[in-house]
């Protein structure tokens, strides 16, 4: 098995002492001493309330913490409500730690999947140790659909500030929906659930070695689940708080990691989506995706200036990547008045598709190509802010739906671009 040489001896020894389990929760961490105790409490509370008879294990995959995160994980007392222990006192709630000095997120996720596979867990979940508002319900909502309803992949749904998560709203979700044919909103999230079957499938996959997915591998797991025909669903968790700036990647890093990983998936699963044009909703549990009106501070002037200067400075690159009419339209936009900028959905869909097709044809270094999308993404974001400054949540949802429909309509254009340049290059 692939994981024989992959998991450390120390981890394997711990897993042997655990034996088989029904449920596994993986907690990736790196210097999360402030929140890991709370995370463990929430997980154990969930086990206690929702899964009192099941064999369970919590796996902490730590990437070089030096603030005592591992000690806190192993020694936190867990249960808040001692009176409700009941039958849980008859079982051992195992805690296992996998230590890495400097592992990528792909290694972390692969470790959790391989652990789930080795322990023959029926349902697994991953929760981020950095999520400060994690509750027992979140863990339960990720595990229940897999354990009790035989789903294989559970994507989260959150309540978000209406201008947060725009990369997911403007790029990741529309592409997932239009290209892979599943309406899964959050493909790059710190929390999700999956079955033992999917864990086994992913563990033996070669995707973990791919450089493009090392920092954000969740999208690949989602796409693998879709493309391999596993049953997918979404489950509402709760409000997703905006993390402090120091713990989040900047906009360039986020685009490189998230869009790079998704483009790689589009390229790797070409055979699947080329012959699959269906567009299915997936079952959702709990309330739908929600938008909140919390205040947000954005420097719109800087956003527009970075778009304008980016288009001007990168014009030779954009000319190579974009179709001629798309390129001309983008140039026109960059020259227009700041207060009137409107990045139309059709133009945005064509732009993103042109980038995905150029990524496939490796028109230039793939990382550089994804970086060249950043100024255009800023332009679309700026346009989104202008358009929805006074919009209600319903208006924003309606616009998102229109964007997704436009991506679906432009799928033909995408397939033409995908195929045409292949013929030229051969």
């Amino acid at each position: 098995m692939a994981e024989d040489s992959f998991l450390t001896d120390d981890l394997l020894r711990q897993l042997i002492s655990v034996g088989e389990v029904d449920l596994l929760v993986g907690v990736p961490s790196r210097n999360n001493a402030d929140t890991i105790g709370h995370t463990v409490e929430a997980i154990e509370e969930s086990f206690q309330h929702a899964f009192p008879r099941q064999r369970v294990v919590i796996v902490n995959v730590d990437c070089g913490s030096n603030d005592g995160t591992i000690d806190l994980f192993l020694n936190s007392s867990g249960r808040k409500n001692a009176s409700s222990r009941g039958i849980t006192s008859l079982r051992t709630e195992h805690r296992v730690v996998a230590r890495y000095e400097n592992a990528t997120q792909a290694t972390v996720l692969r470790t959790i999947a391989a652990t789930g596979d080795l322990l023959r867990a029926r349902a697994c979940a991953v929760v981020s140790a950095a999520t400060s508002n994690l509750t027992a319900d979140w863990v339960g909502n990720l595990l229940q659909p897999v354990y009790r309803q035989d789903f294989d992949f559970v994507a989260p749904l959150y309540a978000r500030q209406r201008f947060d998560g725009l990369l997911a709203r403007l790029v990741l979700y529309p592409i997932t929906r239009a290209v892979f044919g599943k309406r899964i909103r959050e493909i790059q999230s710190g929390e999700f659930g999956f079955s033992g079957r999917l864990a086994t499938n992913c563990t033996t996959s070669d995707m973990w070695r791919e450089p493009s997915i090392q920092d954000l591998p969740q999208a690949c797991m989602t796409v693998t689940a879709i493309a391999s025909g596993y049953r997918c669903c979404q489950s509402y968790l709760g409000p997703r708080l905006r993390p402090v700036a120091a713990q989040t990647p900047d906009i360039v890093t986020a685009v490189r990691q998230a869009v790079g990983a998704l483009f790689w998936c589009v390229n790797a699963y070409e055979d699947y989506w080329m012959g699959h044009s269906a567009n299915d909703t997936v079952p959702s549990f709990g309330p739908d995706h929600e938008l909140t009106d919390d205040p947000v501070t954005v420097n719109l002037e800087r956003l527009f200036e970075l778009f304008r200067s980016g288009v001007a400075e990168l014009s030779p690159l954009l000319k190579t990547i974009l179709a001629p009419d798309t390129y001309a339209e983008v140039q026109r936009l960059a020259a227009c008045d700041e207060r009137k900028l409107c990045f139309e959905n059709m133009l945005w869909a064509r732009t993103v598709y042109d980038f995905a097709a150029s990524y496939h044809h490796t028109l230039l270094n793939r990382d550089h190509l994804v970086q060249a999308l950043v100024p255009l993404y800023r332009g679309k974001t700026y346009s989104f802010f202008l358009q929805h400054a006074a919009s209600t949540a319903a208006d924003i949802e309606a616009d998102s739906e229109n964007l997704c429909l436009e991506f679906e309509r432009q799928r033909v254009h995408f397939m033409e671009r995908w195929k045409s340049q292949t013929e030229v290059s051969t």
């Binding site: 990369l167 905006r242 700036a245 954005v298 800087r302 200067s309 980016g310």
Partner: protein, 235 residues
Amino acid sequence: MKETILQGLTQAYENLVRMIADFLPRLVVMLTIILIGLLIAYLLRAFVRSILHLTKLDRISEEAGASHVLRKAAMPSMSEFLSRSIFWITLLGFILLGISVLQISELQEQISRLFQLLPEIFVAILILFVGVLAANFLSRAALLTAVNAGYPSPRLWSGLVRFVIWILTISMALEQVGLARETVVAAFSIAFGAVMLAVAIAFGFGGRDLARQTLERYLGSREKEREKEEEPSPL
């Protein structure tokens, strides 16, 4: 006296006529050889191109990643690159052959030296090729980083990176073929030093405020966090 002058002029004229009569056929032969070479080079290019298209070399090269490298260096596809190389090598061979027909001893000496230098020239071309790749890649990386971070004059930074790598590559290539070694090293040191000094002076004196802002931006994590907070959270 008059007769002597006339005799001298006549001899000079006869010599000139003899030289022209001797040289012209060789020139015609040389031009014919070059023309035939050009024709053969064209035919060879077309033949090699069609053979390479038939063997689907481009697809193999694409899969092996070689086309990727060529594209990064702004070069044509593998089959086009090889067929053009065959064309130029063939044409160059015929030109050298033609020149040797002229029987100009100095030229023949230079040509034989050129053949002796061929291994060094090959290594120098390889150095230039790698240099072009590195210059294209790193200048584009600098351009994208500067544009996305909002630094002023991104093309200047990108051009500077390209220029420095080009200077370094050319001096290494010339060093390899042994052309004016001392001059090349001295010229490189002076040019490189001058550029760096000019940049330092321009940046330090001409744009003190800009230097301060840029250093603050590079070194100040607070500035970076503020910029991050001013942009919508992407994920």
